[in-house]
């Protein structure tokens, strides 16, 4: 076969024709019909079609996780509050043992603290004013931590009055337990705060 008779494709492959020209010849512009153009412009990219559902499921998962963690934390504090409320005098004894401030203050604290736990825990379980409840619990735990730190520094070996399922002494373990609870409540609060800010800005 003579070289003059070779089809264009073959010429390009052999390097007999320059690139740009070959490209034009190889892929000539095809004029699309009006209907085809419209259908193409109406078609959404596949990623756009997939995105909302993925986002939705991610949001749903986050919401479930947030609610689940909130309910568990709320239940723990609600249970602790109930225990202290029904054994108020035993709790007053535990508060008195800290020897912080006058006796009347210990009595008021023993009466009030269980109700702070009950209110915040109950609202967290119910899902009403979750952020404020988490904030209240965080402040409560943070003050417990300060009190326990001071008690440890004073060298008092007393029952902390904070054990959920069994008695615990003021010491590193009780402090660790409260630190975990503080991280839990504080982390959840920050998460919910950011989620709320993002949702309101959209």
């Amino acid at each position: 076969m003579a070289s003059g008779q070779w089809p264009v494709k073959t010429k390009v492959c052999l390097g007999l024709l320059p690139g740009p020209l070959a490209y034009e010849e190889l892929f000539p512009k095809v004029e699309l019909g009006v209907e085809r153009k419209q259908s193409l412009s109406n078609r959404k990219p596949k990623t756009e079609n997939r995105k909302p559902s993925t986002q939705k499921s991610e949001k749903g998962l986050n919401w479930l996780l947030l609610r689940g963690l909130g309910i568990v934390l709320g239940s723990l504090f609600f249970y602790a509050g109930l225990q202290k409320h029904y054994h108020a005098y035993e709790f007053a004894e535990a508060v008195l043992a800290y020897r912080l401030g006058p006796i009347w203050l210990a009595g008021v604290a023993a009466a009030v603290l269980p109700w702070v736990e009950l209110t915040a825990g109950g609202l967290l379980i119910a899902g009403f004013k979750r952020r404020s409840s988490l904030l209240l619990l965080s402040l409560l735990i943070a003050s417990f931590l300060v009190v326990m730190g001071v008690t440890m520094a004073r060298g008092l070996k007393i029952d902390c009055g904070c054990g959920l399922f069994f008695q615990a002494q003021v010491g590193p373990l009780a402090i660790l337990q409260d630190a975990v609870l503080l991280a839990w409540a504080g982390g959840l609060y920050w998460w919910e705060l950011r989620a709320g800010a993002v949702a309101s800005s959209q």
Partner: protein, 169 residues
């Protein structure tokens, strides 16, 4: 900016919830609160504790600080510290032996085997409101020791009175 606004709202609501909880607490536990304001809370708690102990530990004889110190001065009574090892090691009544409740679960405990059954024993724990001394005394009675008593003032009262103490450190 949005976060700051939310934070402010949350703080306001948290304060409102706190006020609500304080109100509920004061109303629902008014008996406790009024006792505290009258200055009778400590006495009331001591009475309640005494009544509870009388019911819970019926067979255990008890001693106060003065009685325990008298026995200590006689020098024939064995003092048993019912607190945890580390608390005992830090400071304890002079010549006292450490015997926490957990160690009593082992019936063949060598510490018990060396004590004569008819020896006079005084058990104590850390505070006036701890029940450990009574629990250990009850267990010792069940193990066959005939002259066991519980000193209820706790190590703190002993230490504060300036009576002889020792350390294992």
């Amino acid at each position: 900016m949005q976060i700051r606004r939310f934070l402010w709202q949350d703080l306001t609501w948290a304060f409102f919830l706190l006020v609500l909880a304080v109100g509920f607490g004061l109303v629902k536990q008014w008996g406790l609160v009024s006792l505290a304001f009258q200055g009778d809370l400590a006495d009331h708690l001591a009475k309640m504790r005494e009544q509870r102990r009388e019911q819970q530990f019926q067979g255990v004889k008890t001693l106060n600080l003065a009685q325990a110190y008298e026995l200590f001065q006689e020098g024939r009574t064995l003092f048993i510290d019912a607190r945890k090892d580390e608390e005992y090691a830090e400071l304890h009544i002079a010549a006292a032996v450490n015997l926490p409740l957990e160690k009593l679960k082992d019936k063949d405990n060598p510490a018990l085997a060396n004590i004569a059954k008819e020896r006079r024993i005084v058990v104590y724990c850390g505070e006036a409101n701890c029940d450990l001394a009574l629990k250990v005394a009850e267990k010792l009675q069940a193990a066959g020791f005939t002259r066991v008593e519980a000193y209820l003032g706790g190590f703190r009262a002993w230490d504060e009175a300036g009576y002889p103490v020792d350390t294992s450190k």
